[in-house]
Amino acid sequence: MRGIMNKPQPEGGQAPVVQRIRIRYAKRGRLRFTSHRDFARAFERALHRAGVPVAFSQGFTPHPKISYASAAPTGAASEAEYLEIGLQARMDPEQVRAALDEALSPGLDVLEAVEARAPTSLADRIDASHWRVELPGVAPDALRHAVAAFAAAPEVTIERLTKQGRRSVDIRGAVVRIDVVQPDTVPSEFGGVPCAILDLVVRQVTPTVRPDDVLAGLRVVADLEPPVPPRATRLAQGRLTAQGEVADPLDADRDGEVVGEDAWSRA
């Protein structure tokens, strides 16, 4: 029967993982407001619906074997989220991709699936993110001015609310690249109003520096106050190359051919 997973019994031990599949997925449109917890629940249900034979962890409350690479914040769109699943029976990665994509709501789109071949984990292959941030109502010149000030500053300290209270963080070091994209090269969705577009490459450090933090930094260095909340999209995640580009973390697992939709936006 489709849609019902076999749950291995605790006393018998769990069926072992025979294949690991690494997946790139997107959060698009209105579903960018999906939190990581929301996505995780939806993804587990999608595994049920798609009949993907996921393996379970040991213990009294076995959990499906899913591990996530760092997730984009709620409200940020992404073309490059990554996770890995362990299967108890082998499947063609493309079949897994298509079945999961079908089982998830449009807007949570499964873009690529490759079998894990290389020994390094996904987390070991991701240390930077490439972001595009649209700022409706901000004139490109104003943004250019702020970005120049940001780039020239030796440090940019912002205030962050943490569980321990307010805390000052210097975010300048994590920002590897900060540019203004020519409006004519990326079509804006905000017809009528000027919309400046920011292009960012940010190193994934602790604490994480998010696009919102960079915007806070632009406020600090140049009083840039977007009239409406800007819209961030993660275009890529991966290892930062010597050239300052973000490499595809699935390349190491690939046989040279690309499975599924290619990343139009990969840096």
Binding site: M1, K7, R45, A46, H48, T61
Partner: protein, 645 residues
């Protein structure tokens, strides 16, 4: 019913969402959601559950009507929920109207706004939604461009407190009613809206089962009681009848349950195994207004579960009804489903079971795949005497035996649900709860030889409801309830060794008093609701938002002009001849029978269940032309093979 309004508010809503908590609740995109082209629909419904998305989304009523309506090719139905105050503030600031989550269309642009009231505490949220939608709060001020606002759900059996704010109410089951209302609106629109809004409402009222408050006048006696309620238009019935959907097998909804991305209160596929209940618990409005009992067959239940799980990916199934173990084939249902899903990730649950050892056996079947976390039983009353008053026929011996069986079979935790503030109740009746709980723990320890067993005593406050034998009863004042609960708590903890094994949960009596005002209120209470809303009242079902003082102040401001007050509506006992605000709304129950049952309650006489004993003439079947539909069908659930992992 404006023709050309903007099709979507999304571009204006989206920039606000990063600024509010849990924005996912406002974006839609659920599995099972339907978005249709606006222009292709002849009739457009917005369906509202007037509480937060996390509570409203799983609501069965809304999901069923949403699916039934959207199956019609020329009908479009979308959903809307109460927005939290953080978004409400931003929507007001930016002029964004109340919207549907499906296609983010403005609610004011729909033909109909159907609002499902499971509880009266959603009334202030109705006003917020109407106001944000740009729909005048008073129905009398609406014109042809505004949606027809229709209330449904259990609270609609006395919609008088919101009579000023709604255009109509439908009592009872909605599946067929929404299609008939749709047909009337479709014809009226196709004919060029003859006679405007008034004519449309008249056509609805003349069906005999749509209550249009404006077509009824209420007059009052000098002492504040109602003198009479009478129609003011020709062709409008003196009494409006409730709707009953017969043969649940031909209405197997939801087929495509909504699967939210956001976290909600229930994440399961729920199937009603029957509707109605004739147990006759005198406090229970649901059991009175949903008669007669109509069972869904074991085979239909099996198909619905299989398809619902496969569609949704849910791993939990809830077998819902008012008293689930009473299905004539419950044994086959539980065993058949447990067999089908044994060894899978699917867990089954059976809420609302009686105090009966048989139910422990059912629970055993259902927990084959899962953990034995807790079992809940509802004796409702602490003493044998009060249980006779409320007609909850559970003997102390049954209760102890049932709970001990549960402990012996491996359950460690049992929850017992009781009510406080029942008619004729004394301190002694409530203190008996402590003695019962002590005996449960002692018997459980003796039977299992273990100290590792617990029991939780959970107390709800009784609220008299319309269309029940207790509709005449005086409410117990909150301070008396609170005092009894304090004494009970002390009595439970009087024995430290036993008290340690007993959890005690209760709510204070104040919110219940307001629920009492709203459930038995008349049209004069509408001004109180409005005043509370103006003073900032929102989400009254949430303790962190509810303000008792606000209700008390609003009532004190508004009601004295009519010679009545909060106590008059709540702690006052009514007599036999008083015209009750809902007497013109026909649930099928014979008022003489209800009064007799109220007298029986006071005399501590019990009433049997008509499924197993002769009809006792409650009046529902003959007046509604319905009958009990129960099995057994003798059919079995055949095994289906789950996909091997």
């Amino acid at each position: 019913m404006s023709v050309a309004t903007e099709p979507t508010v999304w571009p204006r809503l989206e920039p606000l969402l990063p600024l509010v908590s849990k924005p996912i609740q406002y974006v839609g995109g659920e599995l099972g959601a339907v978005v249709k082209e606006w222009d292709t629909a002849a009739v457009r419904w917005a369906l509202m559950y007037p509480d937060a998305y996390e509570v409203g989304l799983p609501n069965q009523g809304v999901q069923i009507l949403y699916e039934v309506l959207n199956e019609q090719p020329d009908v479009l139905a979308e959903r809307t929920y109460a927005v939290w105050p953080d978004l409400e503030r931003l929507m007001r600031e930016h002029g964004v109207p109340q919207f549907t989550v499906d296609a983010h269309r403005p609610v004011g642009a729909f033909d109909l706004l159907g609002v499902s009231f499971a509880t009266e505490l959603g009334y202030t949220n109705l006003l917020t939604a109407l106001d944000l939608a740009g729909i005048p709060l008073e129905a009398a001020r609406r014109d042809d461009t505004h949606p027809v606002v229709i209330a449904g759900g259990h609270a609609a059996f006395n919609p008088e407190p919101i009579a000023d704010f709604i255009d109509a109410a439908v009592l009872g089951d909605g599946e067929e009613a929404v299609l008939e209302i749709t047909a009337i609106v479709r014809d009226w629109k196709a004919a060029g809206r003859p006679g405007g809004r008034d004519e449309l409402l008249l056509r609805l009222a003349r069906t005999g089962s749509v209550y249009v408050p404006r077509f009824y006048d209420v007059t009052y006696l000098p002492d504040g009681r109602i003198q009479k309620v009478s129609p003011n238009r020709g062709g409008v019935p003196f009494r409006v009848q409730k709707r009953t959907t017969m043969d649940l097998d031909s209405w197997p909804y939801p087929k495509k349950p909504l699967v939210p991305l956001a976290e909600t209160v229930h994440e399961r596929y729920a199937v009603e195994i029957f509707r109605g209940c004739t147990r006759g618990c005198r406090f229970c409005q649901a059991g009175m207004i949903t008669r007669p009992v109509r069972e869904r067959s074991v085979t239909t239940i099996g198909e619905m579960v299989a398809e619902g799980l496969s569609f949704s990916g849910f791993s939990e199934v809830g077998l819902l009804s008012l008293s689930s173990a009473d299905h004539s084939e419950i044994g086959e249902i539980t065993k058949g489903l447990a067999d089908r899903y044994e060894g899978t990730n699917v867990s089954l649950s059976l809420p609302s079971t009686r105090v009966d050892a048989f139910n422990v056996t059912l629970a055993e079947e259902l927990s084959r795949n899962g953990r034995r976390t807790g079992l809940t039983f509802a004796p409702e009353g602490g003493s044998e005497r009060i249980r006779r008053v409320i007609n909850k026929m559970v003997s102390e011996e049954d209760l102890i035996r049932t709970v001990v069986t549960a402990y012996r079979q491996g359950w460690r935790q049992v929850k017992l649900y009781f009510m406080c503030g029942l008619p004729t109740e004394t301190d002694e009746d409530v203190l008996q709860i402590a003695r019962l709980a002590h005996e449960v723990i002692q018997a459980g320890r003796a039977a299992t030889g273990s100290k590792d067993i617990r029991c939780t005593v959970s107390i709800g406050c009784f609220v008299p409801k319309p269309h029940t034998p207790f509709q005449w009863a005086a409410m117990c004042p909150p301070e008396v309830v609170d005092d009894r609960l304090k004494k009970l708590k002390n009595a439970i903890n009087a024995d430290r060794s036993l008290g340690r094994a007993i959890g005690f949960r209760y709510h204070d009596g104040q919110p219940s008093l307001i629920e009492g005002l709203l459930s038995r209120g008349d049209r004069r209470v509408g001004a109180v609701i409005r005043r509370v809303w103006e003073m900032g009242g929102r989400f009254d079902g949430w303790s962190e938002h509810f303000s008792f003082q606000r209700w008390v102040d609003a009532a004190a401001e508004v009601l004295p002009a009519h010679g009545v007050d909060l106590d008059w509506y709540t702690t006052r006992e009514r007599d036999e001849l008083e015209v009750l605000p809902w007497d013109h709304l026909d649930s099928g129950l014979d008022k003489d029978w209800l009064w007799q049952d109220w007298q029986n309650a006071l005399n501590e006489y019990e009433q049997d269940d008509c499924r197993w004993t002769p009809c006792f003439d409650c009046g529902v079947c003959p007046s509604m032309d319905t009958q009990i539909q129960i099995g057994p069908t003798g059919r079995k659930l055949l095994p289906i093979t789950p996909v091997k992992g």
